[in-house]
Symmetry: C2
Subunit: 211 residues, 2 copies
DNA sequence: CCCTGTGAAACAGTTCACAGCG
DNA sequence: CGCTGTGAACTGTTTCACAGGG
């Protein structure tokens, strides 16, 4: 499993993509091996990039046949799939939150699973979406611990983001995907936060769309 | 508005955030000026970062009072708000798509507006969400042109992403926000594409959550 | 040949360290 | 002093260029 402390962030993102590509190919085609330039062209990146990433995880291919698909899937999985599993809590069951639950859980897009959701609106509480129950926010600490949840998704209003993040962190969560426009950086060095704010990104697209 | 060809991507993202912070402050407080370290601490970044970004857009503050809030909002707006407006089309009115329309359009989070949506499912067509009509995908080229839309959001199934992107681009769109797991990079150098794939990012969070 | 693997260069983005000013 | 503005150093990431192998 080569514990390899801390691969670059961008490499991790691509490993996740490589695995999806490889899984698709291994289902659809009868193919045992693949070249770096084949993976690269599907993802529209360079083959050097692919080889560099695979070098970083210590995988070697053969010059004649490229990389073994099955082995590579296993190696990537051993690196990016946490042994404890990837159990997720979603906080804020509004428009976005209630769309994300079925989006992530329905299709087996990955091993990531939303286990519980939280809100403060009585209309939402004790309702299920795609089998995921919505609890009152007050129950967050106990449910997080009981269900052994390690990742949080915040889809609440901007104003609530900070206090929700603090609740998640003191409940023991280790990673957060933050959909709000409220920056959560440097909240706690032991918790990984990914900012995922649609408005900021759309404004960036708008800027570059105009050259 | 100082055409400054191509500010760094990260700077644009932060300018969008600075503007939101400044707008909030100018509404809530009676404050004319602000120091770089004040903006920085709200966003949890460094004050050097703020000053560096403002330097890049050619704005100078005063040592005594910092930056003028009103002027700075105007300057940032003149840079990131396109003159043609930011009219958006959304393709794929599934779970995610139908959540994003009200999320973006309801609150006046920014000047970005979704003008039209598209799908191929007859159940969706000619239905309105938050006042936005859903058209059949076949109508995309004509509506994009008629409505002068310059930005596309793709929330369709992965398999459809590539052909939708091609449709959008040949219809004249200049920027795309891509929610699918299908990479659209290097599709066309004149079109800016931002990849916004939740699964990849969540897997990254899961990896770093585990140290 | 056409592959992989990889030092070294290039590029992008952030932070350091400090000059200069009111 | 405490602030802004900025060259220079540094860190992260991608690309170049090529050695080496079947």
């Amino acid at each position: 499993m080569l514990s390899l402390h801390a691969l670059p962030e961008k490499t991790i993102e691509r490993l996740s993509q490589y695995r999806r590509v490889l899984l698709k190919i291994s289902k659809q085609q009868n193919k045992d091996n693949i070249f770096s330039h084949e993976i690269a062209s599907i993802l529209h990146i360079t083959s050097v990039q692919v080889r560099r990433d695979l070098m970083l995880i210590g995988y070697s291919g053969s010059q004649r046949k490229g990389y073994q698909i099955k082995m590579l899937i296993q190696l990537i999985s051993s690196i990016i799939d946490a042994k404890n599993g990837q159990r997720i809590a979603l906080v804020g069951v509004g428009n976005l939150g209630s769309a994300i639950i079925p989006y992530l859980n329905s299709k087996k897009k990955s091993k990531l699973q939303i286990i519980a959701s939280f809100d403060i609106n009585p209309d939402k509480i004790n309702r299920k979406i795609s089998g995921v129950n919505c609890y009152h926010l007050d129950e967050l600490p106990s449910i997080i611990k009981k269900e052994n949840i390690t990742i949080g998704i915040i889809t609440a209003p901007d104003d609530a983001a900070w206090s929700i993040a603090e609740m998640l962190i003191s409940a023991g969560i280790k990673g957060i995907l933050n959909f709000t426009s409220t920056s959560l950086r440097i909240l706690n060095k032991n918790v990984f936060v990914e900012e995922y704010d649609m408005i900021t990104l759309l404004e960036k697209v708008a800027y570059f769309a105009n050259k």
